[in-house]
């Protein structure tokens, strides 16, 4: 019997493969599912001129905000940055470029990239300012916007549980954008709270097949950033 390849890696080495100028997808919706440890390492290594694709900009002092504070982000493709005043201020000051998508359309654009499609057609936002500059295609006599697929050089993923092949299982609402992003990048790096042996996740309970994943990093500890936010 053959065995599945081992992709476990050290965090430093995994993140070192990200070049300046890379497009980087980050999982997460608010705190749950955000790969805080991988982001911290990306801040430590200091890659510049990044295009970041993430649902939101986290809150100040957390996750994406560290990348903004360190000036590593050139452009942000996102759905909502209202909880991060720094992101809003940098947008208003022209210090970062921001492209807004409707939330489910961001999910579909990333999924389309992960599914090897050129794009999807939708009537979402068709008579709003989000339609500006988008190609209109008639489908069965009705107009639809062409929403182009998004792919990234790198996706940073947070999973609850992983095996060495890169099979991933997410927990609760920490799933969100992680499964689509884990399909849509040339280099997929997953951090996991638990690394279990091959077979440690039942085949029916794998959320992302390891065939999509390139590197698996086990978190040595779950830092405060992953915890409950007390507002």
């Amino acid at each position: 019997m053959t065995t599945l390849p081992d992709k476990s890696a050290a965090m430093e080495d995994a993140v070192a493969a990200i070049p300046d100028g890379a497009t980087v997808m980050l999982g997460g919706f608010g705190v749950p599912g955000t790969p805080f440890a991988l982001i911290r390492e990306l801040v430590r290594q200091g890659q510049k001129d990044l295009t970041v694709i993430k649902n939101d900009a986290n809150e100040q002092g957390m996750g994406v905000d560290h990348l903004l504070a360190s000036g590593q982000v050139r452009k942000l493709i996102t759905t909502h940055i209202g909880l991060n005043p720094r992101a809003v201020a940098m947008l208003n000051a022209g210090e970062i470029e921001v492209e807004f998508c409707a939330q489910g359309i961001l999910a579909e654009r990333v999924r389309a990239g992960g599914a090897g499609l050129s794009g999807v057609l939708t009537d979402i936002g068709i008579e709003t300012e989000l339609a500006k500059g988008k190609q209109v295609v008639e489908v069965d006599g009705r107009p639809a916007l062409l929403e182009r697929a998004l792919r990234a050089d790198v996706a940073l993923i947070h999973a609850d549980c992983a095996d060495p092949f890169g099979n991933l299982a997410y927990v609760a609402t920490a799933r969100n954008f992680n499964p689509m992003m884990a399909m849509a990048a040339n280099l997929v790096i997953a951090e996991a709270e638990k690394l279990v042996p091959l077979g440690g996740i039942a085949p029916d309970q794998v959320h992302t097949s390891g065939a999509f994943v390139d590197r698996v990093v086990e978190l040595q500890s779950v830092s405060e950033e992953y915890g409950v936010v007390r507002r």
Binding site: F29, G30, V31, P32, G33, N55, D56, T78, T79, H80, I81, G82, L83, V88, L91, V98, F100, A102, Q103, G104, I105, L106, A107, E108, V110, R111, T122, D123, I124, G125, E127, T128, E129, L130, D160, Y170, V171, A172, T173, A174, R175, N176, F177, N178, P179, M180, Y226, G227, V228, V229, R230
Partner: protein, 217 residues
């Protein structure tokens, strides 16, 4: 919360019929759930990836991985399911969401909704609002009748960038229940202690009054 607001929320809860799939928007709408009876059969959805939302939890009892789209810590119920953001909006766009209750900056008499952007002041991105407004089978709005400056939020035309056109069916305010009809705004119910003239004065568009009694809430 004012007594009128509390009654608005209790009244809005009666909009939810047994068996519905319902998304309650951030802010006032999320409080509607507190007015549903124990055992009431409904599926509450949150767009960050869950059906079957139970009561909100304080931080010391919260699960760090279980939030709603507004970032509140929530609990599961027996039969909850978690899924990814693509599946979550598939549910919204494909017509499986029977009802959404949203907040509003402005609603026009033809049902246009503006609730995500105030140019030059507030432009954080629309999040999931556009898809909820455009695709839920029924969209109702919960809002104060006027803004903080006392200006009407129900208008002939919206002045702000739209979330979606012609989407709003009904508006619950602290003053009234108002339907969007082909003839414009129609007053359906009025808050205790108010006269129709007061609602008319606080509304920025013509208001059709019903013949006969006006129910109170």
């Amino acid at each position: 919360m004012s007594d009128a607001k509390a009654r608005m929320i209790a009244r809005a809860a009666r909009e939810i019929a047994p068996g519905m799939v319902v998304n309650l928007g951030i802010g006032l709408p999320t409080k509607v759930v507190d007015h549903l009876a124990a055992g009431f059969p409904v599926c509450l959805h949150t767009e960050n990836g869950m059906t079957g939302i139970g009561p909100s939890l304080p931080p010391d009892r919260a699960d760090r991985n279980l939030i709603d789209a507004g970032g509140a810590y929530v609990s599961p119920v027996p039969g909850s399911a978690y899924f990814d953001s693509a599946a979550s909006f598939a549910l919204v766009r494909s017509g499986r969401l029977d009802l959404t209750m949203l907040g509003a900056f402005e609603v026009s008499q033809n049902g246009d909704l503006a609730n995500w952007k105030i140019p030059g002041k507030f432009s954080p991105g629309a999040g999931g609002a556009i898809e909820l407004a455009q695709k839920a089978r029924r969209v109702v709005v919960l809002t104060t009748h006027t803004d903080r400056a006392g200006q009407p939020k129900l208008l002939q035309r919206c002045t702000l960038p739209l979330t979606a056109r012609g989407c709003v069916a009904r508006i619950f305010t602290d003053m009234a229940v108002i339907d969007v009809t082909p003839q414009g705004f129609a007053l359906r119910e009025i808050a205790e202690g108010l006269e129709p003239e007061q609602v008319i004065a606080a509304t920025g568009a013509p208001l059709c009054l019903p013949e006969g009694d006006l129910p109170r809430f």
